[in-house]
């Protein structure tokens, strides 16, 4: 006959026995479990060219694991394909957090995909590294969001400011602004309008166009009609190619001193190669170019390893714009965990807010909403390009840095028509 006391003892032991694997694995043996980083990447869909960034994640993961991991734990990525669709993003990140139980998150690529995620991040108080989302945390203002890209503080204005600083330096007064209707380009154009006002410039044309416009002759004729001093263009890759070709075919008014600013596409190997010398004279934003002022052993080592993988996987063979910053995303997480000696996201965030960290693109410090405290986007001018050989862009001097001043590697050629012909 089992007494009630014996039954209680047996029940307690039984419960402990059943719970032991869970307790041991979650607490005492947590150190053996890998640190999981969750992200979505656009493996398919219109943004699939950004998946070159995944090589950055992989190289960083391999480097960290080869060095013994973080706090003695290996690092692994859990990545899903968001199909370049913002509607897929909330479900993917819910799964990463609630089912895959990842320790930290990295955002999808860009503002269009990141925007629907931010309320979730803020509400659940999650740690996330942002990827290329312009003004990504400006509204949510999460204190656990850190940007991997060099947009700087107040990025809505920081992104276009380099172009307008150059326009101001050459006394440009009349500005034409054209932009794609997509969110990123609209934000950049909005920022451009604000800075033009701040600098006392007159916006003589402000025109948006729908995505996938293939003919820009009407817009270019309208630009020629208003004879601006500078043309600030906020476009996506296919549009950028059509605009550059349109300039060659239709011609541009001699009044235009500088042209470009926020054109996405001429940062990628595919368009640099296909447009080749037609890009000469373009003043445009980017994040990295080969230049003596940007040389570092870390970045050189990165490209030595990136290039053969990218060529094998038919991804951007140059990889200047996106991939190094995907590696930087890993370095931000690494710095947070090593610095705070913890995977507690509050401690990680506290450490990152109070310490500058070393990355392959230089020293980075964050402000209260995780933007870099100092803008380090580059405004370059394409110069001396001959033909369409993509490898010439690996040499310094083809994309000279005009801004920021401390990284300057060449001088601006104006007007735009003269710069187009100079090679």
């Amino acid at each position: 006959m089992t007494t009630r006391r014996q039954f209680n003892k047996l029940a307690t032991l039984g419960t402990l026995g059943l719970a032991a694997p869970t307790i041991l694995s979650s607490k005492a043996f947590a150190a053996d479990k890998p640190i999981k980083i969750g992200a979505s990447v656009s493996l398919t869909g219109p943004l699939a060219s950004t998946r070159a960034g995944e090589i950055g994640y992989e190289l960083w993961r391999d480097d960290v694991n080869a060095a013994g991991g973080l706090l003695g734990r290996k690092v692994e990525f859990v990545i899903y394909d968001d199909q370049s669709s913002a509607s897929n993003v909330p479900a993917i990140y819910s799964k990463l957090v609630d089912v895959d139980k990842v320790d930290v998150l990295i955002s999808p690529y860009g503002a269009n995909l990141s925007a629907p995620l931010m309320p979730f991040i803020k509400q659940r108080n999650l740690f996330m590294v942002g990827m290329f989302a312009l003004a990504g945390n400006d509204r949510a203002r999460s204190d656990k969001y850190f940007h991997a890209c060099p947009w700087g503080p107040d990025s809505m204005l920081g992104w276009p400011r380099g172009f307008f600083d150059i326009a101001k330096s050459i006394n440009a007064k009349r500005i034409a602004i054209i932009n794609s209707d997509l969110e990123f380009s609209s934000s950049a154009a909005q920022g451009g309008n604000q800075i033009a006002k701040e600098y006392g410039m007159e916006v003589v044309m402000n025109q948006s166009y729908p995505p996938n416009t293939s003919d820009f002759s009407a817009i270019l004729r309208n630009i020629n009609n208003v004879a601006p001093d500078a043309v600030f263009v906020c476009s996506y890759p296919a549009d950028s190619a059509a605009i550059i070709r349109g300039v060659k075919e239709i011609g541009i008014n001699d009044s235009v001193q500088i042209f470009g600013g926020s054109m996405i596409g001429p940062q990628y190997g595919s368009l640099l190669g296909s447009l080749g010398e037609d890009l000469n004279g373009l003043v445009n934003i980017t994040t990295f170019v080969p230049a003596p002022t940007l040389e570092s052993p870390g970045i050189e080592r990165f490209f030595e390893r990136y290039t053969p993988i990218a060529i094998k996987e038919k991804l951007d063979p140059l990889g200047f714009y996106i991939p190094p910053f995907y590696y930087v995303a890993g370095q931000i997480i690494e710095a947070g965990i090593k610095g705070s000696q913890s995977v507690d996201t509050a401690k990680m965030a506290q450490y990152l807010h109070s310490h500058a960290i070393d990355t392959i693109v230089g020293k980075v410090a964050f402000n209260d909403i995780g933007d870099w405290t100092k803008r380090r986007t580059l405004m370059i001018q394409v110069q001396n390009v001959k033909g369409n050989d993509i490898n010439q862009f690996r040499e310094p001097g083809k994309q000279v840095i005009l801004s920021p001043e401390e990284l300057k590697s060449g001088n601006l050629i104006t007007p735009y028509n003269a710069a187009r012909k100079a090679s």
Binding site: P210, T213, A218, N225, Y268, S270
Partner: protein, 293 residues
């Protein structure tokens, strides 16, 4: 300074060439959907396959137009194979309803996109031609050869196709199969063979449409998605089965888009095709060039 007459003339000429390019992309759908009543939503994806075929041939030094000509028989056979699969899956079992067909071709377009991305990567691909980057200047009109050359494809294709459909026995059979395939089989012609042949022709036009697209600008594996709405609007507005009507309607839409871009705002141009479609179908439900049955 450009005068208002210059802007007007350039808007018209740009609209005509853009419309003609739209027609070369829509032509295959005018055959499959307009004549065979098969809602081949994968046609724009097949046009992108055509563009990548031209790009691939370009790597071997073959020009875009020559590549399109080489691709015609290849895509014709591909189209026949696709129809055979479609026919075996649905038609022979008497289950070829619109929803199932849509699902099949929608799935096919996704598979095509993934295969292209795996084979060629996701980067933009373009072709180089001596005429890209220069323009034909006729008085106040400046017309880029990048648009003008591919704009010539559609009138040539449509003229040849019209002659074929109206002057040959098998062409007449294609038109007949759309009306009554049982009657056609009584006259000793296998309607399945005729439909397969017509689907082959429709798919062959995709390589020409693809050549037009990649000459006009770089393409990526998913670019076909952006063409679906416009090409369906063109085919429906032209009137189901009207091949010359496809060209006329495409040019109408091209001119309307061009005027909206030049005088209002380019942002409204994607809505132009559908605005015209709604307006025209309200007045003439069978389409502008469709016969009343």
């Amino acid at each position: 300074m450009t005068s208002s007459l210059d802007i007007f003339l350039n808007a018209i000429s740009t609209g005509i060439v853009l419309g003609s390019i739209y027609a070369s992309i829509a032509l295959g759908l005018a055959i499959t959907f307009g004549i065979l009543h098969i809602p081949n939503v994968a046609h724009p994806a097949l046009v992108i396959v055509g563009a990548y075929f031209v790009f691939f041939m370009g790597q071997w030094g073959v020009g875009a137009i020559a590549a399109a000509l080489v691709g015609l028989p290849v895509f014709y056979l591909l189209g026949m194979a696709l129809y055979s699969f479609y026919s075996r899956t649905f038609e022979r079992q008497g289950q070829a309803n619109v929803l199932q067909s849509l699902t099949l071709f929608f799935g096919l377009s996704l598979v095509i996109e993934i295969i292209i991305a795996l084979l060629f990567g996701s980067e933009l691909k373009s072709v180089d031609a001596s005429y890209v980057g220069s323009s034909l200047v006729l008085g106040p009109i400046t017309m880029p050869y990048r648009l003008l050359v591919p704009a010539l494809f559609a009138p040539i294709m449509i003229g040849a196709l019209w002659l074929y459909l109206h002057r040959t026995h098998s062409g007449t059979a294609i038109r007949a199969v759309a009306h009554d395939d049982r009657a056609l089989s009584i006259s000793g012609i296998n309607p399945t063979w005729i439909k397969r042949h017509a689907f082959g022709i429709a798919t062959a036009t995709a390589v020409v449409g693809g050549a037009a697209l990649i000459i006009m600008g770089p393409v990526e594996p998913f670019a076909g998605r952006f063409q679906i709405g416009r090409v369906f609007a063109i085919v429906v507005l032209a009137g189901m089965g009207s091949i010359p009507g496809t060209l006329v309607v495409a040019i109408m839409i091209g001119i309307a888009e061009s005027f909206v871009s030049a005088y209002l705002t380019p942002s409204w141009s994607p809505g132009v095709a559908f605005a015209i479609l709604l307006l025209a179908l309200g007045l003439r439900p069978q389409g502008l060039f469709g016969a009343t049955r």
